[in-house]
């Protein structure tokens, strides 16, 4: 028994030391967001008669919350998506603000006002010149707004390339960790730290592109694999930036060819950039359609009128391709601007100018807004774009709130509470002291026995 008592006490000392070491590791990682609190699994050592003859110390294990981790990764992707979408579209909506210098709605009203003034003074050269100036400004702002929106979308899309490189780098690291985890597991070693690292990488991939990972370390995005076991797959950017629609896409290279990754199914920052650019270009298209529709209506009425020089059939605007961006017709002059609706010889007639001015109250010039006047249509375009941004902002805030809750919940399972660790440390110190006393008792007993045998 005395010999067993020594072994039992020794196992207790080893167990307490392992627990103290693990506690020390927990405390030192208290501020590491990618660390899951670890504990030492203990089990009783069974003797020949089934009684306990000490404690067996296992390999330290990290606390896990797999379902929460998956949810957190998904929400991280949603949050990053909405953040990128918000930032991208906010950069574009400044051009739709009244004080932006490209206030198309006010510019169009100025043009209609100028035609009203022309109807009152159809032969006045200054008034006629004012109409041409207002038309030129409207066309110029339409071009500027269209160009600014296009440029903002292109700027968003140019951010994709370095992000795709980050995705590939992270995929490579995940694949490497998968190999290390497999090797450590087969050797009976601890995989906790490696799994923590892998979870952190998958979390980054979720934030970047909305990727999801499984327990085996496989990672996929929109159903297309990025990491298959120990094999990283290369994500590539295809197409070219520029043009009226999003001209770039993503694909993954597999052994048997490439697979496109649908950009509309992406999450994370990359998904937000794709969606943001798409929304901006859709708004640009709506603006172009709007200006082209208004210009077409003005041209139709304009062509019916007569200039001071008796000419007729003159278009005020050029509409390349029938869909903008529009431009002022350089052939329009003070003399041939068609303010009159009757034949040459009565240049004081401003009724055609009145008819053009009346288009300000006409509905359905832009077929996308059949019951709206031009000013309402443009306000609706800006409002619709603003609603998309507001939705993204709301989504971002909701995802952040949910993320905070889940992180708190996950933290209660996998996070480190220093107070708890300190309490446990005291407990382990006492266990160590008690185990030492047990060894001391065994030693005393053995000494006493030896003394009795000597005398």
């Amino acid at each position: 028994m005395s010999v067993n008592l020594l072994a039992i006490g020794l196992s207790g000392i080893e167990a307490a030391q392992a627990e103290i070491a693990t506690t020390a590791a927990n405390i030192s990682n208290a501020d590491n967001p990618n660390y899951a609190v670890e504990s030492v699994p203990l089990s009783a050592l069974a003797g020949p008669q089934g009684n306990s003859v000490g404690v067996e110390v296992g390999t330290a294990q990290a606390a896990q919350a797999p379902f929460l981790t998956a949810d957190i990764n998904q929400l991280s992707g949603v949050q990053a998506f909405n953040t990128a979408l918000t930032q991208t579209t906010q950069a574009a909506q400044v051009y739709l603000e009244p004080g932006s210098g490209t206030d198309l709605g006010q510019s169009l009203q100025n043009l209609f006002n100028a035609f009203s003034n022309l109807s009152a003074s159809p032969t006045d050269p200054a008034t006629r010149q004012a109409v041409i100036a207002a038309a030129g400004q409207f066309a110029s702002l339409a071009q500027q707004l269209s160009g600014n929106l296009n440029q903002t979308a292109d700027t968003a899309l140019t951010q994709l390339a370095p992000l795709v490189q980050q995705v590939n780098s992270l995929s490579q690291q995940v694949a490497t960790l998968n190999a290390q985890i497999t090797a450590a597991g087969s050797n009976g070693g601890s995989t906790a730290a490696l799994v923590d690292q892998r979870n952190a990488l998958v979390s980054q991939l979720a934030g970047l592109i909305g990727a999801t990972g499984d327990a085996s370390g496989n990672v996929a995005v929109a159903g297309v694999p990025l990491v298959s076991g120990t094999t990283p797959l290369t994500l590539s950017l295809t197409g070219t930036i520029g043009g009226p629609t999003v001209g770039v896409g993503l694909e993954v290279s597999l052994a048997n060819g490439t697979v496109p990754v649908p950009s509309t199914s992406l999450g994370g920052t990359i998904g937000g950039l794709f969606t943001g650019a798409s929304d901006i270009l859709a708004t640009r298209s709506a603006v172009d359609n709007f200006t082209a529709s208004v210009a077409t209506a003005i041209n139709s009425q304009s062509a019916l009128g007569y200039g001071l020089d008796g000419s007729t059939g003159n278009d005020l605007f050029l509409i390349p391709g029938g869909n903008g961006p529009i431009a002022l017709n350089p052939a329009i002059t003070v003399q041939n601007l068609p303010a009159a609706s009757t034949a040459a010889g009565v240049p004081g007639d401003g009724s055609n100018a009145s008819a053009i001015a009346a288009l300000a109250g006409a509905t359905g010039l832009d077929s996308s807004f059949p019951s709206s006047t031009p000013s309402q249509s443009y306000a609706d375009i800006a409002s619709n774009f603003g609603s998309q941004i507001a939705n993204a902002q709301s989504g971002q805030q909701q995802a952040q709130a949910s993320l905070d809750s889940l992180n708190t919940l996950a933290g209660s399972i996998t996070g480190v509470s220093v107070n708890q660790q300190l309490t446990e440390l005291i407990q382990y110190q006492q266990t160590l002291q008690a185990a030492g006393r047990a060894v001391q008792a065994a030693s005393d007993s053995l000494s006493f026995l030896l003394t009795q045998l000597t005398y």
Binding site: A30, D31, P33, T89, Q90, Q93, V94, E97, P98, G105, Q106, L108, Q109, N113, S116, S119, A120, S121, P122, T123, D124, T342, G345, V346, P347, G348, D349, S351, S354, A357, A358, A360, S375, Q376, Y378, A379, A382, S383, F385, G386, S387, I389, A390, Q393, Q400, D404, N407, T408, A410, G411, S412, I413, G415, V416, S417, V418, N419, Q420, L422, T423
Partner: protein, 292 residues
């Protein structure tokens, strides 16, 4: 439930960040006086304000047009008033010349007076306002009447159309107002001058009825112009009131309630301070400090 340190402090940091962001937004609203600056601030209010702003712009333009129109119509009425005075003078001359008591020399003097009246009427008929010949109908670039009273204008006259569809006639068919070398006011004055010069009292008498018709015609035109001027004044006044009302409506959509925002900023400041104090206090109550 265990509360991890990093989770606790991260949550606290998020709360502090969110509170300061809200405070920043409120302070921005207080600084600008606006709660809706860009579409995403409030898409519905933004659209409403943008649409109202274009309406205000149109109304302000209407106001300027109506005001200009009123000035032009008043000036035109002034020209017609001078024509009416000349006509009254001519009628007095006709009455004097028709009673057969005047000598040939006196008849010649009266004829000269009537010729002056005719000149005044022609001047009124060729009245221009800011370069526009008001009685040229649609042909407003040149004087509609020559010295012989021939009419070179044409068309019914031009109108300005306001954004609400209201129209104000600014130029008129001069021939229907003043006649021409062969008839109407001008033609009758020419006949009267000729009859007086020749001492033909019966011919002088014959012009009186036509002159009285011209008086009616002139009065009728002045009434039309006076009504149009009054309408322009009403439109201008209504436009000003409407623009003021719409500007108030825009303010209600986009302006911040300063009292409410000030209170909100105060509450958010208190909230932020409380959170910072909480973070500071939480750091001191760690078991580490107790054990030390």
């Amino acid at each position: 439930m265990t509360v991890s340190d990093i989770g606790f402090f991260n949550s606290l940091a998020d709360s502090i960040t969110n509170t300061y962001q809200a405070l920043q937004t409120t302070e921005g609203q207080l600084a600008t006086g606006k709660q809706v600056v860009e579409p995403s601030d409030n898409p519905s209010s933004f659209a409403g304000a943008a649409e109202l702003q274009t309406t205000v712009s149109a109304i302000n333009n209407d106001n300027a047009l109506a005001s200009d129109a009123q000035n032009q119509l008043n000036a035109t009425d002034g020209a017609l008033s001078q024509a009416a005075s000349a006509l009254d003078s001519a009628i007095a001359s006709a009455n004097e010349g028709a009673n057969g008591t005047l000598t040939a020399a006196q008849m010649t003097d009266i004829a000269a007076s009537v010729q002056n009246d005719l000149t005044q009427v022609l001047a009124s008929a060729n009245f221009s306002y800011n370069g526009v010949y008001v009685f040229g109908g649609d042909r407003t670039l040149s004087a509609p009447f020559d010295s012989a009273g021939n009419y070179a204008g044409g068309g019914p006259g031009n109108s300005v159309t306001l954004s609400n569809g209201a129209q104000l006639q600014l130029t008129f068919d001069g021939q229907s107002v003043f006649g021409n070398a062969t008839g109407g006011l001008i033609g009758t004055l020419q006949s009267l001058a000729t009859a007086l010069s020749s001492g033909n009292t019966s011919a002088v008498s014959a012009t009186l009825a036509q002159l009285n018709t011209a008086v009616d015609q002139l009065a009728q035109t002045r009434a039309v112009i006076g009504a149009a001027s009054q309408f322009a004044q009403t439109l201008s006044q209504n436009a000003q009131a409407q623009a003021t009302s719409l500007t108030d409506s825009i303010g209600q959509l986009v302006d911040v309630n300063l009292a409410q925002a000030s209170l909100q900023a105060s509450q958010e400041t208190t909230q932020a301070n409380a959170l910072v104090s909480l973070a500071s206090a939480a750091a001191k109550i760690s078991l580490v400090n107790v054990l030390a």
